[in-house]
Symmetry: C2
Subunit: 96 residues, 2 copies
């Protein structure tokens, strides 16, 4: 089976909407690459973490912030379809 991306979010923190937005971004970009995105309300306050088939790829507490959507897509791409280009957003920032 294709991988499942889990978005574990703290419902009391009001993070359902941003998680649902991220789910839509992920599903639009990786329609063919994933089995689906699981929105999972956490029982742990302040938790926002992203797992692929149970393996953590991002944790808000460890990072000290939420992921940028571009960054999140790159992290997911690296696991589910490493050859996939994410288009113009995938380029490195220009050297100053």
């Amino acid at each position: 089976m294709k991988p499942i991306v889990t978005l574990e979010y703290c419902p009391k923190c009001g993070w359902l909407m941003r998680s649902a937005w991220m789910a839509q971004e992920i599903l639009t970009t990786f329609t063919e690459d994933v089995h689906g995105v699981l929105l999972h309300p956490s029982e742990i306050s302040g938790r926002f973490s992203v797992q692929i088939d149970g393996k953590k790829i991002f944790d808000r507490k460890e990072a000290g912030r939420f992921p940028e959507i571009k960054e999140l897509k790159q992290l997911i791409r690296d696991v589910v379809n490493p050859e996939k280009s994410l288009g113009h957003s995938d380029k490195l920032p220009p050297t100053p």
Copy 2:
């Protein structure tokens, strides 16, 4: 583990957004009652079906329509927490 509600939708039909909306409705109402909602892009054209732990509770082809959100919540409630009241939307329509 608490039940997982799966929304299987046809991505080519453009049904991601309504599915993501339904996911948010379900997660707002059943935060404590479900493990989560899985948004699953179907490989079958025209498919929209809802499963709880793999057991189908609604299928667009069989019903000939999408579910009303109230109806969907009642179907889910009957499985995940039959005692739960869904508030004013849960009352029967008045007898004419």
